[in-house]
């Protein structure tokens, strides 16, 4: 039956992905109840949490009751380093992965055999959205190792029966050779690496249109529609967005279908909510806020109401692809980047978007927040570009005022714009510091 479904529509698991909403809610509730009970029984941290909040697993009677469960944060997960958050004995754990640990001790995630099965299933759904079949050759440039990216894609490709090329990250020259020689049809990597590959290939005089590449699953970092357009134009492929995080399972929490109207969350396994990062109140559908995820079926390290810090919105209108799975918007920021300036919430992406809308401006900027005489001041440093430079002060001042007006329209606050020299601001590769908050609060 699965085979027929694949041929018809490339929906890997039609039963799960196209399930009527009501039926799915019943399934989610049954799974949530079991997950809450299992988790509280096995993990002392959650047991104490529930006790402190004066709730019992039996109190979860409807999906809405999930709101009574306290949130869990990355910092709290870290305190459980390495295995204290596991809900099964170590003999049941068959694999571990960790987060990058750039901000401290990494978060460790443990998988049971069933968890690996679940991971393979959701990644098979994800890769199928990009058109993967048994015939596909998938070049997996995500790093293999403790990072979840490499093996997540690997398991999904195995489940489908595609040929996976486990080339891992780096060695760009060899990536290009393999892509040509093996006639890779699907690539999985970060969007910035895709653009770098294109650049290197073009330098070598390779015509990217002649590659067999048809689609790519790009993720593991924030990116924009502009970058999508550029990747699609340069490679002549379908560029789709993949989302996931170590704390939940790794890649395969959500993936875009070719309709490109948001990422379908595999919500029969991962239950999403959107909250205001400030008030922690649940936000109505369509409103932007912080994504909170709960795992419904994971065994090794279940997660109840994990605050992802990723900013997005959820949409439930029907998707043309036929899937009934909720869609999340492209991630546009992190709630840790959120600024409160003179009482107004400001996200760096709002400023970035305003800058990108102006022709000729490079999207390199830095936001400096200061407090003078008890009043927050915001300064946005923008790089001067060759296109915008003039020998006349008047014209540059006009430009500056235009940017200031555009930013004010976007964030509702006056910001001082300072034009700086090109290439003087930190670049977005890796974890660029977009915000410098100098306020002594």
């Amino acid at each position: 039956m699965k085979k027929a479904a694949k041929e018809n529509s490339m929906i890997w698991n039609k039963q799960a992905e196209c399930m009527p909403a009501g039926e799915r809610r019943s399934l989610q509730l049954a799974r949530l109840k079991a997950a809450v009970k299992r988790t509280c029984d096995a993990v002392p941290f959650y047991r104490k949490r529930f006790g402190d909040a004066k709730i019992k697993p039996d109190d979860i009677k409807t999906l809405d009751d999930i709101r009574r469960i306290p949130f869990i944060t990355k910092a709290e997960l870290r305190e459980g380093y390495p295995f204290n958050m596991f809900a099964v004995p170590m003999e049941k754990i068959v694999e571990v992965h960790t987060s990058s640990g750039t901000t401290g001790k990494p978060v460790v995630t443990g998988y049971t055999r069933n968890d690996i099965d679940l991971w393979s299933e959701v990644m098979a759904r994800a890769l199928s959205m990009a058109g993967a079949t048994e015939k596909s050759i998938i070049q997996n440039c995500y790093g293999y190792g403790l990072f979840t990216g490499g093996l997540g894609v690997h398991y999904g490709a195995h489940r489908i029966g595609s040929t996976v090329v486990p080339i891992s990250a780096g060695n760009t020259k060899r990536q290009i050779d393999i892509m040509l020689d093996f006639q890779t049809t699907i690539i999985a990597c970060t969007p910035s690496y895709a653009l770098y590959l294109a650049e290197v290939a073009e330098e070598q005089g390779i015509d990217l249109k002649k590659l067999s590449l048809k689609a790519g699953c790009f993720g593991a970092e924030m990116w924009t529609e502009q970058i999508r357009t550029e990747i699609e134009k340069r490679f002549h492929i379908l560029a789709l967005n993949i989302y996931g995080l170590t704390e939940i399972i790794g890649p395969g929490v959500a993936h875009e279908c070719p309709e490109k109207c948001g990422l379908h969350i595999f919500e029969d396994h991962f239950y999403p909510e959107i909250i205001s990062p400030e008030t922690l109140e649940l936000l109505p559908e369509g409103e932007k806020g912080e994504l909170v995820l709960s795992t419904l079926t994971r065994e090794g390290i279940p997660m109840l109401r994990f605050r992802t810090r990723d900013i997005t919105a959820l949409h439930r209108e029907p998707c043309a692809c036929g899937r009934t799975l909720v869609r999340m918007e492209r991630i546009t920021g992190r709630s840790d980047d959120m600024l409160k300036i003179r009482g107004v919430l400001v996200f760096p992406y709002q400023i970035e978007k305003a800058l990108l809308e102006m022709k000729g401006i490079e999207p390199h900027y830095q936001i400096i927040v200061t407090r003078e005489h008890h009043l927050d001041e915001i300064e946005v440093q923008v790089e001067m570009s060759k296109k915008l430079f003039s020998d006349e002060i008047r014209k540059i001042e006009e430009l500056r005022r235009k940017i200031e007006k555009k930013i004010e329209e976007a964030i509702g606050l006056r910001a001082k714009v300072l034009l700086v020299e090109p290439k003087s601001l930190p670049r977005s590769e890796g974890k660029a510091k977009r915000v410098v908050d100098k306020r002594q609060l």
């Binding site: 001067m384 570009s385 060759k386 430079f389 003039s390 020998d391 006349e392 002060i393 008047r394 540059i396 001042e397 300072l418 034009l419 700086v420 020299e421 090109p422 290439k423 003087s424």
Partner: protein, 143 residues
Amino acid sequence: MKVKQISVFLENRKGRLYEVLNVLATEKINIRALSIADTADFGILRLIVPDPDAAKKVLEKGGFTVKENNVIAIEVPDRPGGLSFVLKALQDCDINVEYLYAFVAKSQKDAIVVIRTENNDGALKALKHGEVKVLTPEELYGL
């Protein structure tokens, strides 16, 4: 006759002007005339050099934001009222001056003034009409 001028964007940062001039010195590019326009946050360095294209190239290679545009160089009698006479000619033709800067060359009796207007062709016509001596690039660089 229009003359090419090089403008460089300068962030208001210690040592930045030196860095521009150092690039030009290393490439042995001599400066005929210069002016700096400054605001609280940034400055614009404007230069007249014998080979503007070469200067632009080396500055861009050095990471600077550079623009090339046309200005007019004129001779102004080195006496009271010399410049006002020139400006009168422009004003009579309703031509707005964006900026100007002056310098005196060693071999020259008269002062040299570099003028930037919004309408260089109109300005040239007006200056000719007012019998103001306009310098060719060769004359200017040869000073």
